[in-house]
């Protein structure tokens, strides 16, 4: 056991206690938390900073507003209902179509209007919010994921998670929905985590839960070697999030829209640690590398470039070789 402890330490793996005590606690000021914890505030902030986000259809804050949801939706066939203060992807209802009076959810199940309204009242009641405080329900447009991902996903929308430390992207992974995750891109719920080489944007391999996986369980496509389009832009956007919400340690969730390109779906002030498993790399060495830069003032673009050159696999191979 001690041996494994030492080798984990050597591999630079970041544990929960270290993430909380050494990073989140030091670099994320509490006053900026609402900017990311409240998805509505976050979206407004992103728009102010000219960062692309999915369109906000409407917000429901009071129980009596729930009846107005059909007016708000109009004849939209696709939308997503989210709790503004939800965590871990709980309480997200994805509607992908309409059939007569019914909506169709991501799994193809029929959802009647009453069920939809009940879901919204639950969200407003705070059932999915941290600590159970009353919440607001946010309805936003459905992202049409870029078809390049179609062989790597089962329903739902795959997303890309980038950990940004002091404005420098330090690690990235893609989360691919599976049948088990009901189309949700959440690792806890059974989505696949796929590591991405920061330098090139090429996937390196995946995990399901804690075990390595080489092919998507539902589509059978190979996971590694997939080139994510617009990688520069994705890293650039992630780096800009630092200026937008002032959090030193954050996770940016980005989706690739067919028509709109990469969109920032949400930010996370306490990003999970499974990204290390997906990448087969510990975070600590990369965080130390950023710390070693000291107080240099870089633009977001420069930071993204630095990360691609310094933290990519090519740089690593070169370092091991030398």
């Amino acid at each position: 056991m001690i041996g494994r402890l030492l080798s984990l330490h050597k591999a630079g793996v970041l544990g929960l206690n270290a993430r909380n005590g050494d990073y989140i606690f030091h670099y994320n000021q509490r006053k900026y938390y609402p900017l990311v914890d409240d998805k509505i505030l976050c979206k407004e902030r992103m728009i102010e900073e000219n960062l692309p986000v999915p369109e906000l259809i409407g917000v429901l804050r009071e129980m009596h507003e729930v009846g107005e949801v059909s007016d708000m939706l109009g004849d939209r066939k696709e939308f997503v209902v989210k709790p503004a203060n939800g965590s871990g992807g709980d309480g997200i209802l994805v509607i992908v179509g309409r059939q007569g009076d019914y909506f169709l959810d991501a799994d193809g199940r029929m959802v009647d209007n009453e069920t939809l309204e009940h879901h919204i009242t639950n969200v407003i009641g705070g059932i999915y919010s941290l600590g159970g405080q009353p919440d607001a329900a946010m309805i936003e447009s459905l992202v049409h994921f870029d078809p390049v991902f179609s062989r790597l996903t089962y329903h739902g929308v795959p997303d890309i998670r980038v950990i940004v430390f002091k404005g420098y992207p330090v690690m990235a992974m893609s989360r691919l929905p599976t049948r088990r995750s009901h189309g949700k891109a959440n690792l806890h719920q059974g989505a696949l985590g796929v590591g991405i080489d920061l330098g090139t944007g090429i996937t390196v391999g995946g995990v399901s839960g804690n075990s390595a996986i080489s092919h998507h369980p539902d589509t059978g496509a190979a996971i590694a070697g997939f080139h994510i389009p617009g990688w520069n832009r994705i890293l650039d956007m992630s780096a800009r999030c630092y200026e937008a919400v002032h959090l030193g340690y954050l996770g940016a969730d980005i989706v690739l829209d067919r028509d709109l390109g990469p969109l920032i779906l949400e930010l996370n002030a306490r990003p999970g640690l499974n990204i290390q498993i997906a990448n087969r790399r510990g975070l600590r060495h990369r965080l130390d590398a950023v710390d070693a830069l000291g107080d240099v003032q870089h633009t977001p673009g420069e930071r993204a470039q630095w990360s691609m050159q310094t933290l990519g696999e090519a740089a690593r191979v070169a370092q091991i070789a030398s």
């Binding site: 494994r4 984990l8 929960l16 005590g21 999915y128």
Partner: protein, 512 residues
């Protein structure tokens, strides 16, 4: 990275403070560190039988004042009809009984509870140097010679006194000593002689009178020891054996040349001192001792509070320990539960039900509650009314369990009422949400996790010694706080993470 190391000093300070008060109470006040410890105490009684003579009667009894190694916990006097005044001094105390007319024989009693004292207190003040004894010849010369001889073969007061006493008690006294010994007819004379000879060397001496507290005695024998002042301390010698040191079981009743009791106007027919050993709870004795020593430290204990409040505090003061267990399980082992400290509250309920029955009841209530909760889901109630309905259902379930189990004569079901129903309701609510969002497996797993943490917290909180410590030594919680603060800065891996991040380790090995 900004590092703040204030926590180290704060944590160490709290731990040191808690430990210090604990040690002080154990060592200085004699609080027993473990529950149910017993120690010896003695009831000492002096009985004076008076027969009337004529006129007003005054009887005085010297009372123990500062018996080194002992304290007087309780004192009482039985002397109906007599007026009683007690003259209090630091080194001498005296009880005076008086009555204008004594018709019949009368017995006066003085009774005291004697407990061991941990303080080192001197039985007498610093003395003045005695004048050289005024002796006639040939005694004066003999005394001078003796002093000179003994001084030649001794180094300091201690060895001088020892050597002098040895000569006095030796089997072959020299001629100078022989001269004195011819005049000695009693033990009392012998002690006086020792005092005179030591006064010849200007050494202050004092007679110590007392009894041995070693066995029950109807009529305890009064013994006299000789104290010799060496300039700093009183040294105690046995005038017969010349052995040095105050025997541990020697209870100094009074010091000096006076008698134990003096009676005027009546005949002291008998004076009897009896001792009886009593076994008392060490804790009770410690409290009495602390009271006598007027120690403020003894106030730091819930024992001063009313009994019902004490019972409440015994539970309250145990909570930090339970929470410490939760901190360890969450941040070091890496378990998770519903609600941060909900397991502690469940564990408190287990204290009333015992562990296994408590777990059974908890599982019963939660699973029945879940069943109703799933039905409520279909009614599409809003959140707060639904939670309220769940709480109500939990209360009804608890009542039903109590009534049914009572009819079957099982009293376990009755203690169910102590289950924290709000916590149970919240657990049901959280479980059902997770059940829907993440599936039954995750939900039940987390439920079992909570129950496991509750059981661990219960096991720690039910250790008798801990319950005793927090009531008698509430400062133990300062220690717990210090530990919690120190643990709060642990940023290493959690036990479960060793398994979670296993793939990363293997990868690293391949590269090397």
């Amino acid at each position: 990275m900004k590092r703040n190391s204030q926590w180290v000093s704060l944590s160490l300070l709290l731990i040191a403070l808690g430990a210090l008060i604990f040690v002080y109470k154990v060592v200085r006040l004699g609080y027993p560190p473990y529950p149910n410890m017993e120690s010896a105490a003695w009831t000492v009684q002096a009985k004076l039988e008076l027969t009337p003579e004529k006129g007003a009667v005054r009887a005085s009894l010297t009372l123990p004042a500062r018996p080194t190694g002992y304290s007087l916990a309780q004192e009482n006097f039985v002397s109906r009809g007599f007026g009683l005044t007690v003259k209090e001094g630091t080194f001498s105390r005296k009880a005076d009984w008086a009555i204008r007319r004594l018709r019949d024989s009368k017995t006066l009693y003085y009774r005291a509870l004697v407990i061991q004292d941990t303080r080192t207190r001197s039985f007498a003040p610093r003395p003045a140097y005695p004048p050289p004894p005024d002796l006639e010849e040939p005694f004066a010369t003999a005394a001078r010679d003796l002093v000179n001889e003994v001084r030649a073969e001794s180094a300091d007061t201690e060895s001088f006194a020892a050597a002098m006493l040895n000569r006095l008690t030796g089997s072959e006294p020299d001629e100078n000593m022989d001269l004195f010994l011819t005049e000695v007819s009693s033990f009392h004379d012998r002690v006086n002689l020792a005092q005179i000879l030591l006064a010849g060397a200007r050494i202050p001496t004092l007679q110590l009178h007392g009894i041995r507290l070693d066995a029950d005695a109807q009529r305890a024998r009064l013994e006299t020891l000789l104290a010799v002042y060496n300039g700093d301390d009183w040294l105690v010698f046995d005038p017969v054996s010349a052995a040095e040191g105050l025997p541990l079981d020697f209870f100094i009743w009074w010091t000096g040349d006076n008698e134990l009791a003096e009676v005027k106007g009546a005949h002291l027919k008998d004076l009897q001192i009896s001792t009886r050993q009593r076994v008392k709870s060490s804790l009770e004795l410690a409290q009495q001792r602390a009271e006598l020593q007027k120690s403020r430290m003894s106030l730091i204990s819930t024992l001063q509070l009313p009994i019902q409040t004490q019972a409440v505090y015994e539970i309250l003061l145990l909570i930090p320990l339970g929470i410490l267990v939760i901190v360890l399980l969450r941040n070091f082992v890496g378990l998770s539960s519903f609600g941060t400290f909900a397991p502690v509250l469940i564990a408190l309920a287990f204290r009333e039900t015992e562990l296994l029955k408590g777990i059974a009841l908890f599982v019963l209530i939660v699973s029945m509650g879940l069943f109703f909760r799933f039905y409520l889901e279909r009614l599409r109630l809003l959140l707060v009314p639904r939670l309220a309905a769940v709480v109500t259902i939990v209360v009804l379930l608890m009542t039903a369990i109590s009534i049914i189990s009572n009819q079957f004569g099982m009293d376990t079901g009755l203690s169910v009422s102590l289950f924290p129903m709000i916590i149970v309701s919240m657990v049901i609510e959280r479980m059902s949400v997770i059940w829907e969002e993440r599936g039954a497996f995750t939900s039940i797993k987390e439920g079992i996790g909570s129950l496991f943490m509750a059981a661990m917290a219960y096991l720690v909180m039910s250790v008798d010694v801990f319950a005793y410590w927090v009531t008698v030594f509430p400062e133990v919680n300062l220690l717990v706080l210090g530990i919690i603060i120190a643990l709060g800065r642990y940023t290493g891996f959690r036990l479960t993470e060793l398994r979670r991040f296993k793939p990363l380790v293997m990868k690293e090995k391949v590269i090397e």
